[in-house]
Symmetry: C2
C-alpha cells in the first residue's frame, strides 16, 4: 500500500487526509464494510447482506465479497451494529466471586443458556460489596446488555428502576432483590436448613451450633430461620451462644467453632451455613478429639471421601443458573410479564457426619 503523505504542490504543506484525523490506532484502522465494498466493487449494502447471510445476492457477487473480506481481514464491528439495532446479544451476570466453587457451575449454566440464544456473557464479581454490585450492574447497563442475572450483594435495588422501565430483562438469583419487584430464583434455604437441623435432632442432638454468613444476606437469614423453626418444632430452647453469624473467612469461622466446642455445655453438632463454612468446620473437627456431628449447606466435591463423609443439604447451582437464564430469555421474548419468585428444592444427602450420635 502507498503510505506516502501527499504534499500540496504549491505550498509544500502536507495535505493530511481525512482518515489521518482518526484517533491514533482507532480499532487499529480495521477495514470497514465500505472498504470491503470498494475492493469487491459492490455497494455497501451488498456487503452487509453477505456478512449477515441475507438472501438476494448472486453467488458470484457473494464470492467476490467473501474474497475481499478474506483479503482485508474484515470483521464486522458489532458496536455499530448494536447502535443501530438496539440489541447487543449479550447478557450480564453479576455474582459474588467467580472463584467460589458454588458460582462456577452457576455461571457456566447461565452461559450455556445464553449461548443457545446466541448471546454472550459478560460477568463481574461484586466481592459481596453493594457499591461494587451497583457499579458493575450500571456498567453492564451502559453497555446495553439485553438482560441481567444478578446475585445481589446489596439490599436496595431501586437504582435499577430506570433499567427495568427501559426493558432490561432482569432476574435475581440465590437472593431476592431489595425494594423493587423483580423475578427471583432461589433455593429453599429455610426448608433446607430446617430439614438439616431436624435430621440432627432425629439423631439425638439438642445442643446444635449454627455458623452462618452475615445476617444481611438473605440466604443466611433464611437458613437461620430454618434452624430456629426446627428447634422450636422439637421444643428445644435455643441458646444464643450456639449461633454465630458473620463473614465466612476461615479465621472467624474457626474461632466460632472452637468457642462452641469448648463451652461448659458444648454443642454436640454443628450446622454450617454454606460451603466455605463447612470446609473450615471440617478442618476444625479433624483436630478435635470428641466426635461432633456436622451437616453443611451446599454440597461440595469430595464430601463423600472424607472420614466421615459429610452430610449436606445440597442445592443445585447449575439448575439455579439455568432456571434464571431461561426466565431471562422468556422475559425478552415477551412471554413473561409478572415477576415471580421461584424456589428450587434442596436435598439432604447423608454421608455419615450428620448421623453421628451426640457425645458429651
Amino acid at each position: 500500500m502507498d503510505r506516502r503523505i501527499p504534499v500540496d504542490d504549491r505550498t509544500g504543506q502536507r495535505i493530511v487526509p481525512d482518515t489521518a484525523r482518526r484517533p491514533e490506532n482507532r480499532y487499529g484502522n480495521r477495514p470497514t464494510m465500505k472498504d470491503v465494498a470498494a475492493r469487491a466493487g459492490v455497494g455497501l449494502k451488498t456487503v452487509s447482506r453477505v456478512v449477515n447471510g441475507e438472501s438476494g445476492v448472486t453467488p458470484d457477487t457473494e464470492r467476490r465479497v467473501h474474497e475481499a473480506i478474506e483479503a482485508l481481514g474484515f470483521r464486522r464491528n458489532d458496536s455499530a451494529r448494536v447502535l443501530r439495532k438496539g440489541r447487543t446479544a449479550s447478557i450480564g451476570l453479576v455474582l459474588e466471586d467467580l472463584a467460589d466453587p458454588f458460582y462456577g457451575p452457576l455461571s457456566r449454566a447461565v452461559e450455556e443458556v445464553a449461548r443457545a440464544h446466541g448471546a454472550l456473557l459478560i460477568n463481574g464479581s461484586s466481592a459481596e460489596d453493594p457499591d461494587r454490585e451497583q457499579e458493575l450492574v450500571l456498567a453492564l447497563c451502559a453497555r446495553r446488555v439485553d438482560g441481567l442475572v444478578v446475585i445481589p450483594a446489596g439490599d436496595d435495588h431501586r437504582y435499577l428502576e430506570p433499567e427495568l422501565k427501559a426493558g432490561v430483562a432482569t432476574v435475581f438469583v440465590d437472593r431476592p432483590a431489595g425494594r423493587i419487584d423483580a423475578d427471583v430464583v432461589l433455593s429453599d434455604s429455610f426448608g433446607g436448613a430446617r430439614d438439616g437441623i431436624a435430621h440432627l435432632i432425629a439423631h439425638g442432638h439438642r445442643r446444635i451450633g449454627f455458623i452462618g454468613d452475615m445476617p444481611r444476606i438473605h440466604t443466611a437469614a433464611e437458613r437461620l430461620r430454618g434452624y430456629r423453626a426446627a428447634m422450636e418444632d422439637a421444643g428445644i430452647p435455643v441458646e444464643e451462644s450456639w449461633i454465630s453469624l458473620g463473614v465466612t473467612d476461615p479465621e472467624r469461622v474457626r474461632r466460632a467453632a472452637e468457642e462452641m466446642l469448648s463451652a461448659p455445655a458444648p454443642v454436640t453438632a454443628i450446622f454450617a451455613g454454606n460451603n466455605r463454612v463447612t470446609v473450615t468446620v471440617v478442618r476444625v473437627l479433624a483436630e478435635h478429639d470428641r466426635p461432633v456431628a456436622l451437616v453443611g449447606f451446599d454440597d461440595f466435591e469430595l464430601a463423600d471421601l472424607l472420614k466421615p463423609g459429610v452430610t449436606v443439604i445440597a442445592q443445585d447451582a447449575a439448575a439455579l443458573g439455568r432456571t434464571a437464564a431461561e426466565r431471562l430469555f422468556r422475559q425478552l421474548d415477551g412471554t413473561l410479564i409478572t415477576p415471580e419468585r421461584i424456589e428450587l428444592p434442596t436435598r439432604l444427602i447423608t454421608r455419615g457426619s450428620g448421623e453421628l450420635p451426640p457425645v458429651d
Copy 2:
C-alpha cells in the same frame, strides 16, 4: 409529555414523527443525551461534558444537567461511545470450562486486573472444542474487545492474524498458541511432572502409571514428557501399558486406573495428569485394597484432609491469570512489543499419598 399524534391539517393524514420509525422498543426508548439536553435547557455537548466529568461547566449548569439525568433515568449508551472512541474498555477471556475449579480463580484474577484498568470481562467456555474457541474469539473481536486472554482448545490460531495485525492485545495462557507468534504464560508442566515422578522414584517406585489428558493438549504432552524424562533419568524402562491418555471423564479414567492396578505386574504408584484425573483416581484407590502411591498435577481443596493426604504438584491458577492479564494491559500500553513465553514454576506439596512405599 404530549403523546398525541400530529395530523396534517389539509389531508387529515397522520404525520408520523421520525422517532416513531424506531424499531419497536429500541433500547426500550431510553432517553439520550439529546433528551437530557432538551430537558436541562442546555446543549448536547454540555451534557456530554457533565456525564464524562470534563471540566469547564458552571456548577449551576452542571446541577441542572444532573437533575435532568436523574429525572429521566439517563444512562450513557456505551455502544455509541465505543463506536466513536474505538476502545471498548473490555477484554475477553476464553477458557475451557468456567465450572472447572482450576479456571475459577484464574478467571477471577484476570477480572481483578481488568477492573484495576477500568475494563470489564467478557468470558466464554470453549468446552475444549477448537471450533467453539474460534467462534467465541471472533465474536469477542467483533465486539472489539481491547484484548483477549485465551486458553486455547485448538492448535491453529492463524485465524487471529488479522486481529493481531489490527492491534488486539492477545495473551495465551496455560497452553501456547498454534502457528502464530503470541505471548504465552504457562506453568512448567514438564518440570512439575518430572519432579513428581522423581519423588515417587525416590520413594522406591519403579512401576509408575501415568493417566493424562488428550495428547493434543499441550500441557498433557508436556507432563508426559516430564514423566518419560524422570523415568529415563532413573534408568527405568517405561512399559507403554503404564500410560493412558485421553478424555478426562471419570469413566475412562476409572477404567484406565483399574487396568493398571490389575495387570500381572501392577503399578505401585500413579501420577494423575490434572485435578479431575486426581479426584477420580482417589476414588478408585479408596475402593482398592492394596495401598498405591499417588501424586497429582494441580492442587485442590481438601487434598490435605483426605486419608492419606494427596501429594500434588501445585500450580498457581490465580498467578497464571494475573500474569497474563498484566501482560495484556502492558501490550495495550505499548510497553510490550515482542511476544514472550513465560513459565511459572510449580511446587511439590507432600501430604502422604506420594510418600507411600511400593507394595507388590
